[in-house]
């Protein structure tokens, strides 16, 4: 469950972060300010509070969602805000000449964004993305507050029923560590395999 929730949230968050970046570069003041407020809010409020807010707000609005959906929304919106900030550095680092050459090739601004800016920005910020994945994996321990049984919650339950908290929490910690070591290793591999980063 931990791996499932985290990986889906990372991917949803990435898509949303790209959308936020597009809004921020759109030149439309309404979109720019929306992105700005969104990012400030989700970066500025603790994830635990965000989850509790969503958990209580949605039913108040007449929407009843499962614990899983609530957890996914909370985690992915939160990581979207962080990833959008990471991506900003990438987008700003795309050399203007590459955009000019796209313009000369007849690309529309949307095509330039999709086929030139985004792939280059993603490659440039890939290490930050791996970092964010690790943070979200650990932050996923918070989603138990909306009733989802994930690794940490399971460990708590086990500890309560077996009266052996130490070995159980130690094992939980080791499992988190193992997962993250794998994520980091995959990240390093991918970094080497990703072609065409601007020359270092």
């Amino acid at each position: 469950m931990t791996i499932f929730v985290s990986s889906i949230s990372i991917l949803l968050g990435l898509g949303f972060a790209i959308l936020l970046s597009a809004m921020r570069m759109s030149g439309n003041l309404v979109l720019i300010n929306f992105a700005r407020v969104f990012i400030s809010f989700f970066r500025g409020v603790p994830l635990l509070v965000q989850l509790l807010l969503i958990f209580n707000l949605l039913p108040a609005l007449g929407l009843s969602l499962s614990s899983l959906a609530t957890a996914l929304i909370g985690l992915s919106l939160c990581t979207a805000a962080y990833q959008a900030e990471n991506l900003r550095g990438g987008f700003e680092g795309v050399p203007p000449g590459l955009i000019e050459s796209a313009e000369m090739a007849g690309f529309s601004p949307t095509q330039t964004f999709l086929h030139i800016r985004t792939p280059i920005a993603l490659r440039m910020t890939f290490p930050a993305l791996v970092n964010e994945a690790i943070l979200i994996l650990k932050a996923s321990s918070l989603v138990s507050v909306v009733g989802l049984i994930e690794l940490t919650k399971m460990a708590q339950n086990l500890a309560a029923s077996t009266y052996m908290p130490l070995p159980i929490f130690a094992s939980a910690g080791l499992i988190y560590l193992a997962i993250n070591l794998v994520v980091a290793a995959i990240g390093r591999r991918a970094e080497v395999a990703l072609p065409g980063l601007p020359a270092k």
Binding site: G97, A102, G106
Partner: protein
């Protein structure tokens, strides 16, 4: 009389207080090679970039084969072209940059075929065949699968030329295409440009390669401080007695192998 490939009419450009182009008038005839030379800061690159509307002119107009580029003048008023109007006029122009500006995340073949697929909506196979033909033309068919970071500067610039040619422009603009290359690699790019000129492509090149301007150019334009001082055939421009400002400019090349022109 046929319309010129590019006609530059009373073009001025200022950045804040500085006038970088002062009332330039110039016609680029079809099928000819026009070289823009001059010291740094003379405005030659700016003028070339205006011909692709990568820079806006402050006043005056630029016509590409008789069609206005960037702005449309009507009843003495100037309005910006819509993006699609601009793309249509600009599609006649290919541009080659000093820094190559290849897209680093695509292979050589990907760079050359990208616009064919995305802009011309060609099926992948057809686009790649055409791209391959262009790469063959610049002698890089065996480098199609390489990423820009795996290519030498000269090879990257040849890919950039192939990328521009793939879109069938009628005019090719070169912005100091060899300035980022060492002398050994400069030759291979100049050879490609020479072959292109022999095919009758209309070319405008900002260049520091005085030898290339003298041997390949049909016209040489000398700019200084934003003014087009004169333009003529290379024979006349480089023949003595020369304009004193050009003489001074050429002197700086003495140590750099252009002494044969003296």
């Amino acid at each position: 009389m046929t319309t010129p490939a590019i006609s530059v009419q009373n073009v001025s450009k200022r950045y804040g207080e500085t006038l970088v182009l002062r009332d330039i008038n110039l016609e680029i005839p079809r099928g000819e090679v026009t070289c823009l030379i001059g010291p740094s800061g003379s405005g030659k690159s700016t003028l070339l970039r205006c011909m692709a509307f990568l820079e806006e002119t402050t006043s005056g107009s630029i016509l590409i084969e008789g069609e206005p580029l960037g702005f449309i003048e009507k009843d003495g008023k100037r309005r910006a072209q819509s993006p699609s109007e601009l793309r249509a006029t600009r599609s006649k122009v290919g541009m080659v940059f000093q820094q190559f500006n290849l897209w680093p995340h695509m292979t050589a073949l990907g760079n050359v075929s990208a616009a064919l697929r995305r802009v011309r909506k060609m099926p992948r196979k057809e686009a790649e065949e055409r791209a391959m033909a262009q790469l063959t033309k610049v002698g890089l068919e065996d480098r199609a699968g390489h990423y820009p970071s795996q290519l030498s500067g000269g090879q990257q610039q040849r890919v950039a030329i192939a990328r521009a040619l793939a879109l069938d422009p009628t005019i090719m603009l070169f912005d100091e295409p060899t300035s980022a290359l060492d002398p050994e690699l400069t030759g291979e790019v100049l050879n490609v440009m020479r072959a292109l000129a022999d095919e009758g492509m209309t070319m405008v090149a900002v260049t520091h390669e005085i030898g290339f301007a003298a041997s390949v150019g049909n016209t040489v334009c000398f700019l200084d401080q934003g003014k087009l001082l004169f333009h003529d055939t290379p024979e006349k421009v480089f023949a003595a007695p020369r304009h004193p400002r050009l003489e001074q400019f050429l002197d700086t090349y003495l140590d750099r192998g252009a002494s044969m022109l003296k």
